[in-house]
């Protein structure tokens, strides 16, 4: 094992130093499917992208296999998201003994905290429901008022102190929300980081990477504009969504939607009346216009909740992984457009 690892490591090192091999494609590891797609767009023909966590895979619970370690050992560039998204990455890099250059794409962005969604939820309560004030402490409540405005006006500066505030909270998730790619603005920063990383490892291709990145950035701009236009077209009172994913904090912050975690829904086999009642109360009280809850797989139950509350039931939102190439979210761009389509379909009247 050790000799094999050494061999692989030295092979990688050789490939890195010898320009004679420059014709060979640059071996790049991307930690998960969304990142893999972005890297492939920037790298174009000059890179060979291997994705560790493939389509529909869950990077949170990923278990690297020996084959993954081998791939990492043979890579010249590793592109990771960071912000704790790939908890297994450090060990994998150490174990494989790779000498690849690490590109952590989230380094340049301003991270937000997981607290975001909870606060947004209370902000939602505040707007529509007087009970919220009775049920929740007043101090708590005041603290969130600014935030409600913030979200309404898409004020980006506010998020940083918010993140600090949440840092002191004891909030289960720990620190920062890693799902930064849900904001197209952040992905533009990702692209820059990837372009620089690839160019550093393969200077001969720098021009290509720059051109590819520019082309991709143009597509991202178009996507960003489309999302903003689509959401601006939604009525003000139909911008709150229940979703079981806690992965849309950045999307919410950037585009002015409010994502709320479902209350009560935990059991998969059979929901209790209490679960359903809690969800219905929440939807009514917070003026929620659409529900994306995938862990209630029983369509009939969702339909009942929809009839009782008037909220629309949405389809599947992709958050952490692309679908397969055949699926509705085969690339980052199609994924975001798919999610946008699902959201606007459920939210428009």
């Amino acid at each position: 094992m050790l000799t094999r690892r050494l061999l692989l490591a030295s092979a990688a090192a050789l490939a890195l130093v010898s320009p004679a091999f420059a014709q060979e494609k640059l071996k790049v590891i991307a930690t998960f499917s969304i990142l893999g797609d972005i890297v492939a767009n920037v790298g174009g023909d000059r890179v060979d992208v291997t994705t560790l966590v493939g389509p529909d895979g869950d990077a949170h619970v990923f278990q690297p296999s020996p084959a993954d370690a081998e791939a990492v050992a043979g890579a010249q560039v590793i592109v990771a998201n960071g912000l704790g998204f790939e908890g297994w990455m450090d060990r994998l890099v150490k174990a494989s003994g790779t000498r690849a250059a690490m590109v952590v794409v989230s380094d340049g962005i301003s991270p937000i905290s997981f607290g975001e969604e909870d606060h947004a939820e209370e902000a939602g309560h505040e707007g529509h429901d007087d009970h919220a004030a009775e049920e929740e402490g007043h101090e708590d409540h005041e603290g969130h008022e600014d935030h409600a405005e913030e979200a309404g006006h898409e004020d980006h500066e506010g998020h940083e102190d918010h993140a600090e505030e949440a840092g002191h909270d004891d909030h289960g998730h720990g620190a920062l929300d890693p799902h930064a790619w849900q904001s197209v603005t952040n992905v533009a920063l990702y692209v820059g980081a990837i372009e620089r990383g690839l160019a550093a490892a393969d200077p001969a291709g720098a021009e290509t990477y720059k051109a590819n990145a520019a082309a991709y950035l143009a597509e991202l701009d178009a996507l960003d504009a489309d999302i903003r236009a689509a959401i601006a077209a939604l009525p003000e009172d139909r911008r709150t969504v229940v979703t079981s994913h806690d992965a849309f904090g950045y999307f919410a912050a950037d585009y002015g939607l409010t994502f709320v975690a479902p209350q009560g829904v935990s059991t998969e086999a059979e929901a209790s009346a209490q679960d359903v009642a809690a969800l219905i109360t929440q939807i009514k009280d917070a003026g929620i216009a659409a529900v994306f809850v995938e862990n209630i797989a029983d369509r009939r139950l969702l339909d009942q909740i929809a009839t009782e509350t008037g909220a629309r039931i949405g389809g599947t939102l992709y958050s952490d992984a692309l679908s397969g190439p055949e699926g509705p979210a085969g690339t980052y761009l199609t994924m975001m457009r798919h999610n946008l389509g699902q959201l606007t379909a459920a939210l428009s009247q």
């Binding site: 059979e270 929901a271 209790s272 009346a273 009642a277 797989a297 029983d298 339909d303 909740i305 009839t307």
Partner: protein
């Protein structure tokens, strides 16, 4: 009393669940009482498994579609009932063994079908329906089946009671014995399909048999048993739904367990034939 009224006053889905459960309580429990009297209590369980492949085929063809699953379930149940009866009538095999054979084949076929095209998750939804998700169509179906059951039972009440008491006598004085038997099995299948819409296949039998078994300890006349069984089923529906609402328990099992507890209480303290009546008969004598 708020904890009793509010859940039903505030939430339409609780009202629907209650209505559905009451419909089943009225329709399925008389069928359960007759099953009990004919010593066919386990037939209900076997038939519940027998309707699975039909419901599964309906599910595979049309998804969680009420009509398709009901039709498939009724068809599969009737096929098994008729084949069981035919085998018992024309071969040496007794009815219980014949039923066991057919329902096991049917069950295996059902699991196979669901697994072929769906996942285990899908199978769970077929096995555990939920009373919290009754829509208008399902409620209409439940009430229709209950009405049909009650009318049919009223029409064949006399021959059915005779068939329970002395099937040979009935056969000797009337040619209605065979038809009544199959009609009754048809009612069993229909009510299981209804219960399966509301509670899932595994729980549907519980609401049919448990109240009937409990009623046995309260009344010795058939009329009395029918009334007590329906009352016990309705009570357990309300108790189960409230437990599901207040304690966060899954609703189907909560209802069946409520019925189970009423059964155990009846078993211990019921006035006729219970443990109390047997071991402390003095109270009985004094009365």
């Amino acid at each position: 009393m708020n904890w009793l009224i509010d859940p039903f006053a505030d939430f339409a889905f609780m009202q629907r669940a209650l209505l559905g459960c009451l419909a089943i309580s009225l329709g399925a429990t008389p069928v359960g009482v007759f099953l009990l009297l004919r010593r066919m209590s386990l037939t209900g369980d076997a038939m519940a498994h027998a309707i699975l492949p039909g419901a599964a085929v309906g599910y595979l063809v049309a998804g969680l579609n009420l009509g398709a699953m009901t039709l498939g379930g009724v068809a599969a149940g009737l096929v098994v009932a008729v084949m069981t009866g035919a085998v018992a009538r024309f071969t040496d095999l007794r009815e219980d063994a014949s039923l066991a054979a057919f329902y096991l084949i049917s069950l295996a076929l059902g699991v196979l079908l669901v697994s072929l095209k769906g996942s285990n998750v899908d199978l769970m939804h077929v096995l555990f329906g939920t009373v919290l998700a009754l829509d208008d169509a399902a409620l209409t179906l439940l009430c229709a089946i209950t009405t049909f059951t009650l009318v049919t039972l009223a029409l064949v009440f006399r021959p059915l009671v005779l068939e329970c008491a002395d099937p040979r006598f009935l056969a000797s004085v009337s040619r209605w014995s065979g038809p009544v038997h199959f009609l009754f099995l048809g009612l069993v299948v229909l009510n299981l399909v209804a219960g399966f819409q509301a509670l899932g296949t595994l729980m549907a039998v519980g609401i049919m048999i448990l109240p009937a078994a409990a009623a046995r300890f309260w009344a010795s006349s058939i009329g009395g048993m029918l009334a007590v069984a329906a009352a016990i089923a309705a009570t357990s529906s309300v108790v189960g739904l409230l437990a599901s609402y207040h304690a966060g328990l899954p609703s189907g099992p909560a209802i069946i367990l409520a019925a189970g507890m009423l059964y155990l209480a009846s078993l211990c303290f019921g006035p006729t034939g219970s443990l109390a009546a047997r071991f402390w008969p003095r109270a009985h004598l004094e009365a």
